[in-house]
């Protein structure tokens, strides 16, 4: 019986990919006039995305 190989995902890449996906969805909503994008909205979203990526990278360093 061959054991299934379980490989853990690259957590920083996973978090960064999700963050980029969220940013893309926000842009798409703005392009379809579903939301009115302003700097008051964009700045927190951008900071949250960058912070999540850095946090994931920092917490998984050395593993």
């Amino acid at each position: 019986m061959r054991q299934p190989v379980t490989s853990k995902p690259d957590v920083p890449s996973l978090v960064a990919g999700i963050a980029v996906l969220v940013l893309g969805l926000v842009l798409l909503l703005d392009a379809t006039d579903a939301v009115a994008l302003s700097f008051a909205v964009l700045a927190p979203v951008a900071c949250a995305a960058a912070g999540a990526i850095l946090l994931a990278r920092g917490l998984t360093r050395g593993r």
């Binding site: 690259d10 960064a16 996906l21 842009l27 302003s38 995305a49």
Partner: protein, 490 residues
Amino acid sequence: MDDRNEHIHDENEPERGEDPAAEDPTTEPERGEDPAAEDPTTEPEPTEAAEPESDLGGDEPADEAATVEQQAEAQEPTAEQPEAARPEDPRGPQSPAGDEAPTEPIAAGAGAGAGGGAAGGGPAAAPPPRRLLRARQGRVLGGVCAGLGRYFNTDPVFFRIGAIVLTLIGGAGVLLYLAALLLIPKEDSVAQTAVDGDSVDGRSRALVIAGVAVLLVIAWPFLLGGGLIIWGLVIPLAVLVAAGVLVWWLVSGEGPSGDAGDIARRAALGLGLLVLCGIVAVGGAWAAAAGGEAIVAALVIAAGGAIVAGAFLKPVRWLILPALALAFSAGAVSAAGIDLDGGVGDRYYNPGSTVDLRDRYELGIGELVVDLTDTDLPAGDTPLELDLGVGSARLIVPDDVCVATSADVGMGYAGVFDADNEGIDVDFDEQRTAPPDRSRLVVDAEIGVGELLIGHATSDFGEFEADFHDGRDRLDNSIDRGMNTGCDSR
């Protein structure tokens, strides 16, 4: 007398045969001149004959002084032995004491180390000479400051602060660091030299001297021309290199360690990635401003999906920064409301009548001037839209016209007569009323990044207009932003 001398000579012969220095014929007559040498009971010990200070001429007090001085020199490195025998010192046990010290011009105290080795009677008792080397451990860039700190037994932070201060006040710190990088040998190379038994050959030394000479030739205009060149060239270059190293560290995890080649490689890779991000950002911003925001959003979503898939298959971390650059730039363009539909350049509109007056004036990037001083506006409300992506929009109105303004500035400044507002997401709204027999201009302005100015014409407006049409630089005194005189009093 002769027999006795010959007898003495015969007695000493086997002992001096053990000491090579005693066979030196130059020391023989001097010892013969020494009165103590004539007394067989005070026959000098063979070790004294081997000492080089015996060349001083056989004067007894001088010999004693020299011997005391030599002993003091021999003792000095012994006191420093714990520092010289640090674990990170590659010269430690594998480097024979005094073997290389005389061949190294930068070595400090090498002569003392060699002398101490000879006086100590064997290599095992000789401490390694203290040498100025570029340290491997604790270094930040090339190990110069860490090596200086180790050599002077001081915290290297002091040397780093000094280098930074010298760099900021004229740039000498950079040049001195580069010179030290060329002149001070690296710890690894010295250790390898000790293992291999090679020494620094003349070609390497000539290359170092040539490098320093070239550095000086390049450096003197910097030192004389001073700070402006340093601030304008070296500092930005250093910032670029630091940014490249930082970016590559964030992407790959490879920090600013290794030799200069490694750091340069990482800085180049990081800068290359930054350039790629810049190109992607500019392209994405342009596409979003030109109406392709939906396409850019789709690209960002696709990149995010690829990064997520790569997390499970094969990580593509290099794609993260370009994807973020694309998303942030397009998001900034959308948030600012930048629209390039109106084109790029400077526009000047001066409608002579209401027939020529448009409902909407727009411009993508540039300076937009709408001059209504020659326009006879009818009584009542006249709507007017201003749409500018990036730049400056000026609206000049007659003195008897009331202006009601609603302006949205993504990032910049809005000045309407005596009221203004500035910053990010500026929302300016001033709905003034006019008497029934007066004209009221109802302005709806959308400015992405830039400024909106509404006011009356000044006496210098004619000069401004002429300069505008001639394409010359224009003075910013064309608008009198006093009172909104055509409106009812508040």
